[in-house]
């Protein structure tokens, strides 16, 4: 049996985070590598332009590993991230 702890909720504002593969700040600063990034579409004979808005998409891939340290929130130049513990846990 694996021990499971409730982890913080991480929200990504994708209106603000549009080119995550070019920016990559949160992806590289997170101590436990919680985030993941992929191209939204893989097109035959074409390499995806990482500067084209929406061509890559950031996602929370391993939320169970988030400690709530907030380093990603602090590093994000677009203020696109929020990290918060669900209130019922804090009470």
């Amino acid at each position: 049996m694996t021990q499971c702890y409730v982890a913080p909720i991480i929200e990504i504002d994708r209106e603000r985070c549009t080119t995550p593969f070019a920016c990559k700040k949160c992806l590289q600063i997170c101590p436990t590598a919680v985030f993941g990034v992929r191209e939204t579409r893989q097109v035959r004979l074409e390499e995806t332009d990482k500067f084209a808005p929406g061509s890559f998409r950031l996602r929370v891939a391993y939320r169970d590993k988030c400690s709530g340290c907030n380093r990603c929130v602090d590093v994000c130049p677009e203020s696109a991230l929020t990290v918060r513990m669900p209130e019922e846990v804090l009470e």
Partner: protein, 285 residues
């Protein structure tokens, strides 16, 4: 014998990855009439966890993050039961990688897609590439430039060996990748936490994603002087300094037999033992 050898023509003397048949892949079979080209795996962004279309793995991670151990354990054990019919990747120590590279020609250096996904690393030239694509399938890499971002570089047998030795020194362990279960598609140089198979096994208990190597490593305490050069090389939480004995310590059940500690030891104090010949470890894959 592990499941890989059962299904892929390995024997007690020769593991599956030394059987040349597994490198002569079937990627060039003719397409069935009327069938169009297939989308490459991972072509579309994965839906967020919580989305109904999320993969079982993403749902397991979400359950874990919600503190729901029952759901988490159920999904993982279902995934393990399904995957047990189908081989995944296997750890292979440096000396055996060097043996099998010739079987996998043509060999091309390429970006690692796990590092691309987890740390947004961009490997765009031979100096940066960390992966090797093996076999004739590599000859059609140009169809999918996104999959092979920054192109690929075909290597001679000698260059390929130097390539793997270089990354071994840097601290990446090696694994052979089964693609689709019937041929060896790649040789990766990996570490935790960016490598998806290592992570899925270590953090989530998906055993079939990554099998241990045919070996397990032991420290010869006559030769080890406790210098600590090997420490920090292990991706599997198997290696530590045992202060009581003033020697390096390997947990036999945690050890994946990757040999990274062995290649770092200046005193040859670490030895490989055949996992299949040690009664308590022969079934620990």
């Amino acid at each position: 014998m592990c499941r890989m050898c059962d299904s892929l023509g390995g024997t007690a003397e020769q593991p599956w990855y030394k059987n040349p048949k597994n490198f002569s892949n079937r990627m060039y079979k003719l397409r069935e009439p009327g069938k169009g080209p297939q989308m490459a795996a991972g072509g579309n962004a994965e839906p967020d966890a919580g989305d109904q279309r999320a993969s079982p793995f993403a749902q397991a991670v979400e359950a874990k993050a919600n503190g729901d151990a029952d759901t988490f354990n159920k999904i993982i054990s279902d995934m393990n039961a399904r995957a047990s019919l189908r081989p995944g990747c296997q750890v292979v120590p440096l000396h055996e990688v060097l043996d099998v590279l010739d079987l996998g020609m043509p060999v091309a250096a390429m970006q690692c897609i796990c590092r691309k996904e987890t740390r947004a690393c961009e490997e765009c030239s031979l100096k940066e590439y960390t992966g090797l694509g093996l076999g004739t399938g590599m000859l059609k890499w140009e169809r999918w430039p996104e999959r092979y971002r920054g192109k690929v570089e075909f290597l001679s047998s000698k260059q390929a060996k130097e390539f793997v030795e270089y990354w071994d020194k840097k601290g990446f362990m090696h694994m052979l990748m089964q693609e689709g279960g019937d041929f060896i598609g790649g040789m990766c140089n990996c570490d935790y936490p960016d490598c998806l198979p290592i992570r899925q096994r270590i953090d989530y208990g998906l055993t079939a994603q990554l099998l241990k190597s045919e070996y397990v490593c032991f420290v010869d305490w006559e030769k080890c002087n406790g210098c600590g050069d090997c420490l920090g090389r292990c991706d599997f939480n198997a290696l530590k300094y045992e202060a009581t004995m003033e020697k390096a310590h390997i947990d036999q059940f945690q050890c994946f037999g990757c040999g990274l500690c062995e290649t770092a030891c200046p005193r040859n104090a670490i030895e490989y033992r055949d996992r299949k010949k040690i009664s308590g470890l022969a079934r620990v894959w």
